[in-house]
Symmetry: D2
C-alpha cells in the first residue's frame, strides 16, 4: 500500500483527491491537512464523507515526509515552492497540484506568478502530463501536476504541433470551464444567483495557464510558441471544453489529421477520439479520467478546429495526480482511475 | 463471477446499472438488451461508454436465463409481469426494477397500474428494500426492486412507524426529485428550457408510488395506512429529498426519536443519520448508495419532520438493485457499491 | 409623478424595486441609498444598469422625507423599526419591505426577531397583502410589505380559512424557493457549486415567516392558528412554490373548493386560478406580479392540497411594494406592474 | 395603433414577440397564427398567458394583409419565401424573423439553405440590423430580421472591419448560446438531463449563420470575407456571448480601438460599451434589447479580442423585430423596448 499524505485537502481538488485515494486499491491516506479547518472532522467540511472519520491536521511536511511514500500538495501558487527542499525529496515523492513546478522557465514563472523559492529544485521537476511525459515521470522525485485548462488544451493540440501540421502563430484556444474551477472560496462572481444562467469570459489575454500551454507545446514544436487563450465560466459544476483553432500548413484532409492523432493516442486508454462528425461534450467524461477529442477541417478557411473535453477536477487535477502517482510507483496507470463517467450527473 | 443480463439497458436506470455492474468486482455483464436500440453499439446510445464495446441485443429472456445467473429488468410497468414465469425462475434470479413485483395486493396493483400477468408468481416475490427486508431477500428467486420515491420515503419513516411513535393517519410526504426520475423519453415538460429554472408539483394525490409506500409502511405498522404523497420536479439531474410530516403520539423529544432511528439503522452502512440540527441535502449523496436522514421535533405543532435524501438512480434504482444481487448471491452487501459521493457534481 | 426614495437599494429586492420604479409611468426615483456602496455608481453594483446613472447615497431618512412622497425600506430586520417615527410619517409614506412592521403581536415579533424600537407606531402599520387588505391600506401612513413565503402561503390558503373549510390545526406548508430569496450576501451554502444541482430544507420548524403566516391566517379565521412551515432551497434564481396541505372539514368536492376561491379571487387581476387538474409552475409567473393557484381534493385522505406560485422578488417583494404604493396614492393598482411573465427565463 | 399579425406565434421567438407587442404602447395584435396549435387557446400553449385570451388561428396571409399594418413571420427557413409576393407587399409591411430574406447572394442562400421562391423580391429586402442599416430600413416593404448569433457577432466586429483595423482573413468567432436558441421542438440533445450541466460545440464550420455574418461584414469591408464561426450550447435558457478574435493591422492601443467603437456606437442607445478591463456577461442584458460590448488588445499575439452579449430572444430575435417595426412606422426606436434587464433571472 502506498502511504499518502495530502496537504490542502479541503479545497475542491484536494477533496477529489481524498475521494480517489480512499477508493484506490493500492494506496491509503495516512494524513491530510488543512490550514482553514485544522482540528475539524473532515465530514464537517464535506458532509459527503459522513461515514468516514479523518481529522484535518495542521500541516507539518517534515513529519509527513517520514511517514508517507508520497505527498500531494493542493495549495495556492507560491506556497509549495517554499515548502519543498532536498531533504524532503530524499524521503518522499512530491506531486504538486499547484503551479510552482509546472513552468521550467523561471522568468516566465516569476512574470506571471510570483517569486520562486526553490529554483534549485525546479530543473528536476517533471511536467506530469502523463500521456506525453510518461517516460520522463518514472523515477522522478517531484512532479508538477498540470493545470486543468492546460491538460485539456495541450492534449487537444499536441499531435498537430508535433507533426508540424499547423501554423504555430495561428493558435487560438477558447476554453469553457465549470465553476468548480474557481474553487470553494467565496466571491460575488461565484455567488449562485450571479453565476447561474450566465456565461462570461474572464482574464482575457492574461490567464496564467497561457504560458504553461505555450511552454509545453513549445517543447513539442521545438520552438517558442505564442498563442491566445481565453477562459470562460459556464453555469455548471464540472467540466472543461477547449475549442482550439489553428491554420493548417497544407491541404490536409480529415484523414490526414486523424492519422496524426492516432500516432500519439491510439494506445492511450484515457484518450478517446470521437468519430468523424462527432464532437465531445463535457458530460461524456464527468466523474472520469477520460479526455475526449474530436476535430474538423474547415476547407473554407483552411483551419482545423479541435474540441477537447475533460472533467476539470478529475483528469484536470486529482485524477491526473493519481495517474502520476501510479506511474511513479510502477503500478498499472489505470489503477483506481478506471471509472465510467457518471451520466447524467 | 456472477453472470448478469440486463433487459432495458438504455434507459437512465438501465445505464446506471450497466455502469455499476461493469465496475463490480464480482459480477460481469453477459448480455444487455434494448428494444429501441437493438443492434446498435451501446456507446452510440451513451457516449460516456466510448471506451467500451457492447452491442445492444434483442431481448430473449429464455435464452438469457440459460447463460445468466441473474437478470435485471428495467422496463415500463406491465411488461415484466408478462415475461416472468416459473421456468425462468428455475434457471435464473430475477431483479425487477419496475413496479410489477413491488405490490403484494393485486387489487391495488391493478387499480393504480394495469392488469397483472403473473399473479401466481407475485406471492413469492420479495420487496427488495435491503435495510428492512434483508433476511427475506436471501434465497428468493425474484425481487421487486423498490421505486425511488418509495425507498427514500419508507426509510425516512420506518423507525417511527415501527415504534408506533406517530399518528398513522397524519403522514404527509412532500418529495422533490431531479429530472432523471422522469427518464430519457422526450416530452415538452422535460425539454430543457421548460424544466430549467422552475419547480412544480405533479401527479398530486395520484402518484403510483403512493400505494407502494402505504403497503410497506402498513406492514411495519401492522395495520393499513393511508397517506398523502406529493412529488415535485426540481431543476437538477439527480437526487430525491423527502420531507415527511407526522403528528407525534406523545411528547417525544429529539433524543427519543433518535433512539428509535438508531434501533434500526445504527449498523446500516448505507444509512447515515445527521447530527441534531443538521438536515441532509441531495448533493451529499450524489453518485453513492447512501441514504442521509435528519429530523426535528416541532414542539409548537406536535409534529416530527423527517428529511431523507438519496440519489434516485443509485440507491433509488440501480444501486439498490445491485445491493439486492449481492444479498441474493451471499456476498458482502457493499461490494461494488461503496462509493464516496461525487462532490460537487 | 410620485417621488420615490429607496433605502437599501443594492440588495436583490432593492434592485428589483429600482427596476420597477424606473419603468413605472407615474413614479420616479428621487434618491436611492446603500450602506455598502455609498458613493458608488449604481451601475458598478449592477452592470445591468450600465445605461443609467445614479449614485448610491448615504442614507438620511429625515432629508429624504422632505423631498419624497414615499420611501421604501429594504433593510435587515430590526433596522427599520429604529428609523421610523411620527415626524417622518407626517411627511412621507413608508413602505417597509423588511419584517419590522408585519407582525402586530409585539411579543411574537420579539421572540422570533429582536427588540422592536417603534412599538408606538406599530399599531397603525397595515399588513400590505394587497388582495386581502386593499381597503385597509388606503390612507395609511405605513405599510409592512409581506414576506415572500408569506405572500404565497397566505394567498394560497386564505379562502379555505375564511370559509372555514379546513381543520385549522392540520395546516402544513411545504415551500420551495429559488436562491434570490437568500439575498446577495456571500456564504458557503450560496456558493454556486454548493447550491447548484441540490435541494435542501432549512430552518425547519423555525423560519421567521411562520408567525407572519399564522397571524394573518389567524385574522382570517378569527382564531389563533399554529401551523407547520418548511422552506426549501431550489437550484434556480427566482420563484416560490408553496405546497399546502390541510384536512377538509367536510366531504367537499373540487367544485366546492373552487367556489370558495372564486368568492375572494375572481376579480383579482394578479391572482390566476388554474383549471382543474392543472397545477402551476414557478416559471409561469417569473418576471411578473402574478400569483397562480391550483388545488386538488384527495378523497383518500380527506385533504385538500393547494399549490401556489409567485416570483419571490416581484409579487414576493418589490412588485407587491409597488402595488401598495399604487393603492396608497390612489392610482390603478396594476400601474407599472402589468408585465406578462418572461418565458422561458 | 399599429395593427400587427404574427405568423408562427408559438415558437419561443414568436412568443417573445407576442409578449413585446402586447406591452407595446403603440401596437396591438390583430391576429396570431400557429400551424401546430391552430384552434387552441394561446394560454394552453404558454401558461404564462393565463390572463390573456387569444385563439391561435390558421394562417391566411392574404387575409391578414388586409387587416394588418405589419406581419411578422417566425417560420422555418424556406417557408417565408413561398408566402411573400408583390400583392402582399403592396398591402402590408413584412418583417421576417427567419433566414429567407437575410442573404442577398442567392447562390449562397441556396447552398446553405434550400431553394429560394421569391428571388424577384429578395433585392428589395433590407437586412434589419437596426444600428447599422437604420436609414436603409426606413420606407422599405420587407425586412429580413437578423439571426441571433449574427446580430451579436456583426455588432461586435463592425467598427473594426469598417475602420480597417483588422486582418479580414483572421476573424474567428467563438459563440455561446443558451438553449432557447434551439427552439421548442423536442430532441434528445435538448432533453433536460442531457443538456444540463454540460457544454458542447455543434455545427462546427457548418452553421448557417456563418454566410450571414460574412455577407454583412463583407459589405462593411467593401470586400469578401471568409471567417470561422463556432456555436456552442450552454446550460442556461437565454443569452448569447460571442468571443471574437482578429489580428490587428497595426500596433493599435486600447484607446485606438475604443475610438473606432465610439464612432459608430456612441449614440446608439441599445449598445453599451463596457469600461476598459470589464467584459460583459449574458446575464447583464437578459430580458432587454441591449448589446454589451467589451474588448482587449493582446500585445503578445497582436490580436484584439472582442466580447459581445445579447439576449438571443430579445435583441437576437423579437426585440430587434420590434425595433425594425418602430423604424418602419417612424416612431421612436426605443418604444416598447426600453426595459432594464431582469436581474438575477
Amino acid at each position: 500500500m502506498i502511504k499518502v499524505g495530502i496537504i490542502g485537502a479541503t479545497g475542491y481538488a484536494g477533496q477529489e483527491l481524498v475521494r480517489l485515494i480512499e477508493q484506490h486499491p493500492d494506496a491509503q491516506i495516512v494524513t491530510l491537512t488543512s490550514q482553514s479547518y485544522a482540528g475539524k472532522d473532515y465530514s464537517e467540511v464535506y458532509s459527503s464523507y459522513a461515514h468516514k472519520s479523518y481529522v484535518c491536521q495542521e500541516e507539518d511536511i517534515e513529519k509527513m515526509a517520514d511517514i508517507c511514500d508520497v505527498i500531494f500538495l493542493a495549495l495556492p501558487h507560491g506556497v509549495a515552492s517554499k515548502k519543498i527542499n532536498n531533504d524532503i525529496l530524499n524521503k518522499v515523492k512530491i506531486i504538486d497540484l499547484g503551479a510552482d513546478f509546472r513552468l521550467q522557465d523561471i522568468d516566465v514563472y516569476e512574470k506571471w506568478y510570483t517569486t520562486h523559492y526553490s529554483k534549485d529544485i525546479l530543473p528536476e521537476a517533471v511536467y506530469g502530463l502523463c500521456e506525453i511525459n510518461r517516460d520522463k515521470i518514472k523515477g522522478k522525485r517531484i512532479v508538477g501536476n498540470p493545470g486543468c485548462y492546460t491538460t485539456c488544451s495541450i492534449l487537444s493540440l499536441y499531435p498537430l504541433v508535433k507533426e508540424k501540421m499547423i501554423d504555430l502563430s495561428s493558435i487560438i484556444i477558447d476554453a469553457k470551464s465549470g465553476a468548480t474551477g474557481a474553487g470553494r472560496g467565496l466571491s460575488l462572481p461565484n455567488h449562485y444567483c450571479e453565476l447561474n444562467e450566465s456565461v462570461k469570459a474572464y482574464k482575457i489575454a492574461s490567464h496564467r495557464h497561457t504560458p504553461e500551454i505555450e511552454e509545453q507545446l513549445g517543447y513539442a514544436a521545438g520552438e517558442k510558441i505564442v498563442l491566445s487563450f481565453t477562459p470562460h465560466l459556464i453555469p455548471m459544476d464540472r467540466g472543461i471544453l477547449a475549442t482550439c483553432y489553428a491554420t493548417l500548413n497544407d491541404n490536409y484532409t480529415y484523414d490526414d489529421i486523424r492519422r496524426a492523432y492516432e500516432i500519439y493516442y491510439k494506445d492511450e486508454y484515457f484518450i478517446r477520439l470521437t468519430k468523424e462528425g462527432v464532437f465531445p461534450e463535457t458530460k461524456w467524461v464527468k466523474g472520469s479520467n477520460f479526455v475526449d477529442i474530436g476535430f474538423a477541417v474547415d476547407e473554407r478557411t483552411g483551419r482545423v478546429i479541435v474540441i477537447g473535453v475533460i472533467d476539470n477536477l478529475f483528469k484536470g487535477a486529482a485524477g491526473q495526480a493519481v495517474q502520476n502517482m501510479n506511474i511513479l510507483f510502477g503500478i498499472d496507470e489505470k489503477t483506481g482511475l478506471d471509472y465510467i463517467p457518471v451520466f447524467p450527473a
